[in-house]
Symmetry: C2
DNA sequence: GTGAAAGCGCTAACAG
DNA sequence: CTGTTAGCGCTTTCAC
């Protein structure tokens, strides 16, 4: 009596527990060991119901659980409570260096609250996204952090049905909590910086317009140039159809016909493509053309020239997203907070006075 | 009759299903709709037992499931079958660009086999790793892909108790399946390349020796230089205590006292630190000192000079790791295959003939 | 404050 | 080939 009933996987004591095959010790085992009814053991183990059990009993149960290395069975608990303590994080592309820092901080906050993070990579494919969402739903994720950012996106309609937080995208409908960098302000700062250097012909290599970031930064560029009194004829715009060096190269070739003295790129990869286009055209950066990127991905400081770019507070974005989600899970009907975190311009060597 | 018994979350049809709160349709609902017993419905739905059900019945059940949008409850199934169809992937650091491509291909293979990938980031901390492993175990992960690579690692002892595959590390004990790039060959190729350029004084900036990669590459360097007939006195070695630019810088400063004409770095980050040390010392790369990195992280081609480095087949590593694991889950007692995938040297601008 | 009992949704062994 | 039944491990009323 008092020992786990199940010993099909009893393991030698010298094994490291975490990597060994599970020895299944159940609540019944704990209860038997502590000499109480399983129901009572359950109450004692559960923070919320603990106060309905005599302190001495609680102690006995807790000790038994400790001694036996009791781990509640997630399946049984989930089946009963309909909660998984798992959160889905839906990313468009894990290899995009923008996301890992966000994921890390999300994971940290959620883990501290007892949640498991289910990371999922949609490969920028709506069908994959649908499939993965279905999977996450089947696993009864308690909430979602969604970083895929098509402007036309089913999530915009799903509204407040399931706890979720949007990252890097603010839907028009303010029903869904969201956190993002203040990209408009970031683009604004970039344009101001160029204007203050003396630029008057500033182009924009816009990102994909079906992504909310691409669209948002484009609008922000329009606003900023207008606000600063630049003629729209002096502000050529080309559209890249993806966030990639190749698309950036194509768009930049087009752009260079308009001979801007400075260019604001939709993101860093587009800026890199632009760098190639400049080299191709025999133009030097920054002496002939200044260039600003967006995102501040790693290694930019080591480029030639080091790229000036708008820095996003990735870690903070992740932290806040996780907090908002926990909030939402706790109070699904609370107001949908929407957070805009400040971006700053990291000035490096790719911007200078025009000739 | 024939409708889901549970309508607390019935959703308007215009909502996108994937993002809406779950409407719970159970096996009983499907069975009722198809007018069979739940047990029969279960058999019909399950590939493996389907042939014990009349084809016409199978069709009816399948259609009912489709019509009602039936999703089996993972908890109930897991509780019953003691399988989760989830696999834990344990990474030391998600922000290391080495891992995302591996994770992506792992995820792809596992998803195709019906498994969910649980990605977990240990932040290079053994305690965090232990905690996360416990969590994964509580969630009854069916297997593990482990990419953390301390040489002293509990996993090395846990042996074949739970299905797992090691990535980027071959334990001495050949009990655990593993897949890695052939780093020794990679280092060998790098040294050969330098020797063929005419270098005779070749240094090594070794990575942390408590990591199996750091140690393995160090040994490979020793082997290669000896094999090629270089005097060990001509092959200075400094140790970086982490894979970082800062550590690389420190180790490189030390190394430069020995005046090698070429340096093989333990990884790319160490190589970057080395680049800084060279600049500091007023040495030009590659004209004064040639430099080779390891891993081929992104952006290296855009550096000044573009870094020559050993390329790891990350995608293939991930694919093979996932396959090995599926194998292992299917036949836990099969032989532990150990795969060594070829690395190739990507020659760029940081290596040249010595003066 | 504790015990008893029901049941979450599923699968698998066994009967028919 | 189909139905019946039991039970995975847990939480949660409801009695006592």
């Amino acid at each position: 009596m008092g020992l786990p009933s199940n010993d099909r996987n009893r393991l030698p004591s010298w094994r490291s527990a975490a990597y060994a095959a599970p020895v299944t010790v159940t609540l019944r085992d704990v209860a038997r060991f502590a000499d109480v009814h399983p129901g009572t053991a359950s109450k004692a183990l559960n923070e919320a119901t603990r106060d309905r059990v005599a302190p001495a009993t609680v102690r006995r149960v807790l000790e038994a659980a400790e001694r036996l290395g009791y781990q509640p069975n997630t399946f049984a608990r989930g089946l009963r409570t309909r909660r998984s303590y798992a959160v889905g994080v839906v990313l468009p592309d894990l290899t995009n260096p923008l996301f890992p820092p966000i994921v890390r901080s999300v994971e940290k906050v959620l883990a501290a609250a007892g949640y498991t993070t289910l990371i999922v990579d949609t490969d920028n494919d709506p069908a994959t996204e649908e499939r993965l969402m279905t999977m996450l739903r089947a696993r009864h994720a308690d909430g979602f952090i969604i970083a895929t950012a098509r402007r036309e996106h089913p999530v915009a309609e799903a509204g407040d049905l399931v706890p979720m937080v949007l990252v890097n995208r603010l839907t028009e409908a303010a029903l869904v909590p969201a956190v993002a960098g203040d990209e408009a302000a970031g683009i604004g700062t970039a344009v101001e910086h160029l204007v203050s250097l003396g630029h008057r012909r500033i182009g924009h290599l816009a990102g994909p317009q079906d992504l909310s970031t691409g669209f948002g930064r484009y609008r922000a560029f329009l606003d900023a140039t207008q606000r600063l009194g630049l003629a729209s004829a002096d502000c050529p715009i080309s559209f890249a159809d993806s966030y990639s060096e190749a698309s950036g190269l194509r768009a930049a070739r087009e752009m260079l016909a308009a001979a801007p003295t400075a260019i604001v790129a939709g993101n860093d990869l587009i800026a890199l493509g632009c760098l190639d286009a400049l080299a191709e055209a025999g133009l030097k950066c920054p002496s002939d053309v200044s260039l600003v990127g967006f995102n501040d991905m790693p290694m930019l400081a080591r480029l030639n020239p080091p790229l000036t770019t708008v820095h996003l507070p990735q870690e903070e974005i992740g932290t806040e997203a996780a907090r908002l989600l926990l909030d939402r899970i706790a109070r699904p009907d609370g107001p949908a907070k929407r957070l805009l975190l400040p971006c700053h311009l990291t000035v490096r060597g790719s911007t200078a006075r025009p000739r």
